[in-house]
């Protein structure tokens, strides 16, 4: 066969695959529903930022300094002062019932100590059941007290602390966690969609018997594979583009890097997820198995990718496994393009592992097509 006929054949296979996918109401829903739902959930609900720290104040000091501290705390947009309590015994039930996240206890001598130029004592009681939240609340409070210290120092009320830490967060100046999470979703969603679409494709044909009908034609398995990979690739790239646009226009993420470098990453990443999807698909006999298989891969892949928790915090042996995860590489690329103006030269160490993952999985899928039949 000439190259032209090969091309026509591949086009016919890809069109068939796309039609089978898009003409079915259920699989159309898989392409549209989850991406939008996840984008909304992750974009709005999933955030590390604390906007409503609930606070109770137990002030034993009648002085001016303590009143200023309290007004600073309650004036912060992130802190809601809910209760002002009069007795120590009231603290425990408030924390136990999760009525408040923290209680600020001001010592009776606070204002007196400050005015004498000594250190005032403030006790902070935190609900430590969610350690992450408690840490963030502690940091906020510490920041407010630090600012108060500086103000009093300027007014000559206090001697200034010997060292002042001036922090600047680069790339995400206000440390908005939405930037971090929405950029991650680009990888997460195109992984989910291209994986599920391809994982179901062979299994669906096996279940319906169409795969046998296809295998008795003279079409080479490699062409069947290419025909199945193209729709997965197209859909994965389209989903990624959709989220990139929403991220920039709706969620106001900055876009500082090279669009070409990002799309090279999107392409290689989708190709490797398609490879993994096809591999899962050719092992499975039913669609049910394929969906289970896809999720068996997805959950660890997301956790090990650094989507939410830093890879550097993982034990060394687990860190080694993360090198097999294409999402790990892609997240570095996408976050870098969005926030730090990354470009091609920075990404070679991320590109080539994805190339290797794609080649390996696609080759294995092609082999399994013919050899794994029962």
């Amino acid at each position: 066969m000439s190259i032209r006929r090969h091309l026509l054949l591949i086009i016919a296979l890809a069109i068939k695959e796309l039609l089978a996918l898009l003409r079915d109401k259920k699989s159309r829903m898989v392409l549209i529903g989850p991406p939008i739902a996840q984008l909304l959930i992750f974009g709005y609900a999933a955030t590390f930022d604390l906007n409503h720290i609930t606070l109770a104040v137990y002030n034993e000091d009648p002085g001016e300094a303590s009143r200023e501290l309290i007004s600073r705390l309650s004036g912060s947009p992130n802190i809601d002062l809910l209760y002002t309590i009069q007795h120590e015994s009231e603290i425990k039930p408030l924390i136990d019932n999760q009525d408040v996240l923290m209680v600020v206890h001001i010592h009776p001598q606070f204002s007196a100590d400050i005015s004498q130029g000594k250190s005032g004592k403030v006790q902070l009681i935190l609900d430590g059941r969610n350690s992450n939240t408690a840490m963030i609340a502690l940091n906020y409070t510490r920041e407010i007290i630090l600012q108060l210290n500086q103000q009093w120092a300027k007014n000559g009320l206090l001697h200034g602390p010997p060292v002042i830490l001036e922090s600047r967060a680069w790339y995400n100046e206000n440390l908005r966690s939405r930037w971090f999470i929405v950029s991650g979703i680009i990888g997460l969603l195109s992984l989910v969609v291209s994986l599920v679409v391809t994982a179901l494709s062979v299994a669906r044909e096996r279940e319906q018997g169409t795969f046998d009908q296809l295998l008795v034609t003279p079409v080479h398995p490699a062409f069947i594979l290419i025909g199945k990979a193209i729709p997965g690739l197209l859909i994965g790239i389209l989903e990624a583009s959709f989220i990139i646009v929403v991220a920039v226009l709706w969620f106001d993420l900055p876009f500082r890097g090279s669009i070409g470098a990002l799309y090279l990453g999107v392409f290689l990443f989708t190709l490797s997820s398609v490879g993994i999807g096809l591999m899962i698909s050719s092992i499975c006999v039913t669609q049910q198995q394929a969906v289970l298989g896809a999720f068996m891969f997805l959950v660890p892949a997301v956790i090990l990718s650094g989507f939410a928790t830093p890879i550097a915090n993982m034990p060394d042996s687990v860190q080694l496994i993360t090198y097999l995860d294409p999402l790990r590489y892609f997240l570095i690329i996408v976050r870098s393009v969005f926030m730090e103006a990354g470009s091609y030269n920075l990404f070679w160490p991320q590109y080539w592992p994805m190339v290797i993952i794609a080649i390996t999985t696609l080759t294995m899928a092609a082999w399994l097509f013919r050899h794994k039949m029962y």
């Binding site: 069109i15 039609l19 169409t210 039949m373």
Partner: protein
């Protein structure tokens, strides 16, 4: 005069599938006499299963009235269910439970008192011959045994009315005979009223009465004898010493005035429009020395006669294949040698050997689960071989270059085209797979649409087409690239007699033009279409040869003209005798 046990008045039922509305039953009225077997017969999609499910209260009635044992179907459905037993088409057995556990389950569901169970179980196990297998998982029983267990479960509590939906389809002839025996015994002993649907028309003659259903309407309710009267004097056996049955049938079926031409043992069975057959003589050479003989009409003759009146679409378009007419040659096209396939410790195909010559129709006959499809899948390279060899046109398709598959056409047992794609989209896709593009592609697609009369369905999703058209469509795809060898796996399973005739007419025409056809079937009488055949049971070949040779095997004094079914039963019984003899040898040192 006894009161009707079941009566149905002006029953209607419609279904809505997407935007389509299907009138499954249209104004059906009949009554069943108590204590006899009534057969429910009709082509696929006639509404048989819908009717049965309505009778059991599993569907709600749109309009009309059902009365079972004096109970009203609309308001007292729960009470009806207590006196009716229903055996659905796909037996409602739990495959992961043993035979005994299945029985217990049904006894619990039907509320059989524990004290009565033991005697009823013993009766049923004796009746079905399942006593030695009570500890076996239902999923590991053979097709025939599963059906018998299904029937036993339906009979755990002796019902007043027994409703059986195609209980004998795909079951081997011996189990079929046994199933009928059980049903009749229940009718005689317990005076049960039985309604039974079947796809085997010869079984209609075993019923006391037959209800003929077509496209949701009831055409007639009568005894089989009354049905046959209709074609009295119009059934003939035509034969010629100089023409093959296939050529004879091909020619006869094209003649006007002929309603049905069917290849049977010793010639072609013909039903004419009038009680005169002499008009066919001028169409044949004097040299063919055509012989005609009047025969007793069968239920099938009358069934076809009846349906042809209702069906304008006769499907007589013959296929003209590309190969010049050549008669079966000695050239071996398909070679199967000691072929074996195991799944775990289950031997699906055990040392099967046969050869198929060029240009012949070769049949693989056997019940469901005999190993026919497994053999087929190995031949087509879809399933690895455990041991042995097979080759098609000189190559093993599993290891041969992909181009070797250009020679074969394959039609799977189950409809296996893309259901969500339209007829045109499917045809275009498969044409491309066979390397047909542009003009060539257009030409072949037009050929397929014309030959198989698919025009009205061009833009319909294949999943939404009627069964007969699905089968045509699969056949069209298999023939798209004009293959020399055709693999047809159970092409006639589940389609009605009219579509079966149409299918065989096309296959005959193909074989006449030199295409080699390998076909599997569980309809024993279809063996008459084959040049050579093997009979398979439990993964082994019981016998091979021509249909005539098979029947000669079973020829005995009390059975001078055995049918293919008799031959099959004879062969199976022989095998069982051999096995028990072998077991005796082993046990006596």
């Amino acid at each position: 005069m006894s009161v009707a046990e079941v009566s149905v008045e002006n029953l209607c039922k419609t279904f809505h599938v997407g935007k389509q509305t299907i009138q499954a039953l249209n104004n059906v009225s009949f009554s069943l006499k108590p204590g006899q077997v009534t057969g429910l017969i009709g082509p696929d999609g006639a509404g048989k299963t819908t009717l049965m499910r309505l009778l059991c209260g599993l569907l709600t009635i749109d309009s009309g009235r059902i009365t079972v044992s004096g109970l009203d179907g609309a308001t007292q459905a729960a009470d009806i269910q207590a006196s009716v037993s229903y055996m659905p088409q796909r037996f409602g057995l739990y495959e992961d439970l043993t035979v005994q556990e299945n029985l217990d389950l049904y006894a619990d569901l039907k509320g059989l008192a524990p004290g009565q169970r033991q005697t009823r179980y013993e009766e049923l196990m004796k009746l079905t011959g399942l006593a030695p297998f009570t500890g076996r998982l239902a999923g590991k029983l053979s097709g025939g045994m599963k059906q018998k267990l299904g029937l036993a479960c339906a009979l755990v509590v002796t019902p007043k009315v027994l409703i059986l939906d195609e209980p004998t389809v795909g079951v081997d002839p011996i189990s079929r005979r046994e199933l009928w025996h059980i049903v009749y015994q229940q009718v005689e002993q317990a005076g049960m009223t039985v309604l039974l649907s079947t796809a085997y028309l010869d079984e209609a003659e075993r019923c006391a009465e037959v209800i003929l259903l077509h496209e949701g309407k009831m055409l007639q309710q009568a005894t089989p004898a009354i049905f046959s009267e209709r074609v009295q004097g119009r059934s003939w056996l035509v034969s010629s010493p100089h023409l093959s049955n296939r050529q004879l049938q091909l020619k006869l079926s094209q003649l006007p005035g002929i309603i049905d031409a069917l290849i049977v043992q010793g010639g072609v069975r013909v039903v004419t429009e009038t009680a005169d057959i002499s008009f066919i003589q001028p169409s044949f050479d004097a040299a063919t020395s055509l012989q005609t003989k009047a025969i007793t009409p069968s239920f099938e003759d009358s069934f076809i006669d009846r349906l042809k009146q209702h069906n304008t679409d006769t499907g007589k378009t013959a296929i003209t294949a590309h190969i010049a007419a050549e008669h079966p040659s000695d050239e071996v096209v398909i070679k199967v040698d000691q072929l074996k396939r195991t799944f775990g410790d289950f031997i699906a195909v055990n040392k099967v050997s046969f050869n198929v010559n060029k240009g012949e129709i070769f049949g693989l006959l056997g019940a469901n689960g005999a190993g026919k499809s497994t053999t087929f899948r190995m031949l087509c390279g879809l399933l690895p071989i455990s041991s042995g060899h097979c080759s098609v046109a000189g190559v093993d398709l599993r290891h041969a270059a992909n181009q070797a598959r250009q020679n074969i056409g394959y039609m799977a047992q189950k409809f296996s085209l893309y259901g969500q794609l339209t007829v045109m989209q499917n045809l275009r896709f498969y044409a491309s797979c066979y390397g047909l593009f542009k003009k060539q592609q257009q030409a072949r697609i037009q050929w397929a649409i014309d030959t198989f009369e698919l025009e009205p369905y061009r833009n319909t999703n294949t999943a939404d087409m009627p069964l007969g058209y699905k089968q045509r469509m699969s056949f069209a795809v298999a023939l798209m690239h004009q293959p020399d060898i055709l693999f047809l796996d159970e092409p006639t399973s589940g389609i009605d007699p009219l579509a079966r005739r149409e299918f065989w007419a096309r296959t005959n025409a193909l074989a006449e033009s030199g295409v080699t056809v390998l076909v599997t079937t569980h309809f024993m009488e279809e063996a008459n279409y084959c040049d050579h055949m093997v009979i398979m049971a439990n993964g082994t070949v019981l016998a091979k040869g021509t249909p005539e040779q098979m029947k000669q095997l079973a020829q005995q004094e009390n059975q001078p003209e055995p049918s293919m079914e008799d031959a099959f039963i004879y062969l199976i019984e022989q095998q069982m005798n051999k096995q028990s003899a072998r077991q005796k040898q082993v046990s006596t040192p």
